[in-house]
Amino acid sequence: MTVSDCTCPSRVSVTQYAAHMTEPAAGLDRYRELVADWPAFLEACQRPLPTVVWENPLRRDLVTRVGAECGLGEAATVADLLSCRGYSTTALDWRPGAWRVDGLAKPGRTFEHYLGLMHVQEEVSLAPPEVLAARPGERVLDLCAAPGGKTAGIAISMRNTGTVIANDLRPQRLRPLRANCERLGILNVVITPINGVRFPLEAGPFDRILLDVPCSCEGNVRDSHPDARGRATAGVAGRGGLQATLLGRAWKLLRPGGVMVYSTCTFAPEENEVVLDHALGDDAAIEPFEIPGLRHAPGVDHWAGKSLRDDCTNLARYWPHLNDTGGFTVARIRKTSDS
């Protein structure tokens, strides 16, 4: 359950991996000029990630019943249910209904998880659905959706109405996507197994699109799962092409006036600002945004000697030390006219 969302194929040898374990920030040196507090960044990269759970608003009545049966009163939350079994919980200040939980080694083996009363997700992964801000009744596409934590967040923000098409290319990733949606009681999701590069244009237009692309996963340096950490060193080269192609396709599927959120769990400008600079045209505006209580640093408007679109600075970089989370970047892009 604490396994990272990312599935980028590992290209790391055992020795590289061993080196990575002792020096998690190896290879991250190239970002020194982008990080305001380098020692704090390195220090954060060495610490394991906190476990974060959020309560499923669609199951509020079930939480109430269990709370009442356990003598905790009807206002009890899943955090109260976990606390009364000895886990200490701390509410996130920026996101109501979500908590950091100490000592819960196997959150997937709890009654609360089985019943879909809660979901386990890396804290900063809760940001993209907030930034997308989908509304009830809309038509939304999540082009790279598995295993579906963000799909669930989007579907819930739409109050289980309208349509979310949750797509993923990889068959082995569709099973957890489906299992998560079913467990959480999500009824407004259609799951499709299509290569995003060829996603049918007739299925559009969409009011909003989340494009949470496959990436090199550097932001997972803190993930305790060996696979995720291994993947975190897999290198940034060669992914920008697929990312830009997916972005080009998604752009055609977005209605004029619609909003796209482009996100990665990696620091590399090659997979973020450079992709946006390459793939977006004049009909796109990268918009500034702020999630109160969640700190971010601005994006870059130049990299490797090249200058990039001015509005690339509106991209949000969530460095691990800013909020004690995994690393993440998020861009909110509006389509300003028909393309």
Binding site: D61, L62, R65, V66, A68, E69, C70, G71, L81, C84, R85, K106, R109, T110, F111, E112, Y114, L115, G116, G137, R139, N160, T161, G162, T163, I165, L174, R178, A179, C181, E182, R183, G185, I186, L187, N188, V189, V190, I191, T192, P193, I194, F199, P200, E202, A203
Partner: protein, 167 residues
């Protein structure tokens, strides 16, 4: 426009009427007939009925791998609700429901059969797939067999020694 009509024609999923499925549920579990008023019903293959948001629109996309949640499997003589549907739509059931103690719930979730031999719960006139409840909430269903419940928690979801809250 090439794929636009695929969804309806080539039919991995077809939208269907709520009947007879919604009446069956109301009859089996004694729930209000309006329970499914605000949902749409879909069928994939012959035997699985899915339930989704009322206004869901797959649109021109094919193939589809899932829509909402599976509600019923109708392949056998006795229709079987899915455990995810029981948890979602089994909140206010009036019959064919059995309340379990902590140790029973734990075994049930590990797919073990629960016997009620010397137990008032065995006396009730249960039939078909009966909903198992713990702490007032539905946790799954099982086939009722003379005084006992065979757990139908799917293998992929079943867990022995699940950590349970206690009353």
């Amino acid at each position: 426009m090439s794929d636009a009509s695929n969804f309806g024609n080539r039919s991995d999923y077809l939208q269907i009427e709520p009947e007879p499925w919604s009446s069956w549920w109301a009859e089996q579990y004694g729930t209000p007939t309006e329970l499914f008023d605000d949902y749409s019903f879909w069928q994939r293959g012959k035997y699985t009925i899915w339930v989704a948001a009322a206004d869901i629109q797959p649109g021109a996309v094919s193939p589809v791998d899932g829509i909402g949640i599976p509600l019923l499997r109708t392949g056998r003589d006795v229709w079987k609700p899915t455990s995810v549907a029981v948890i979602h739509f089994g909140r206010d059931v009036a019959r064919n429901v059995v309340d379990l103690e902590a140790d029973e719930a734990s075994r049930f979730l590990g797919r073990e059969a629960i016997e009620f031999e010397n137990d008032a719960r065995a006396v009730l006139p249960h039939r078909g797939y009966v909903i198992a409840r713990y702490l007032g909430v539905p946790i799954g269903c099982g086939l009722w067999r003379r005084g006992g419940l065979a757990s139908s928690v799917p293998k992929g979801r079943a867990m022995r020694d699940l950590e349970l809250p206690r009353a």
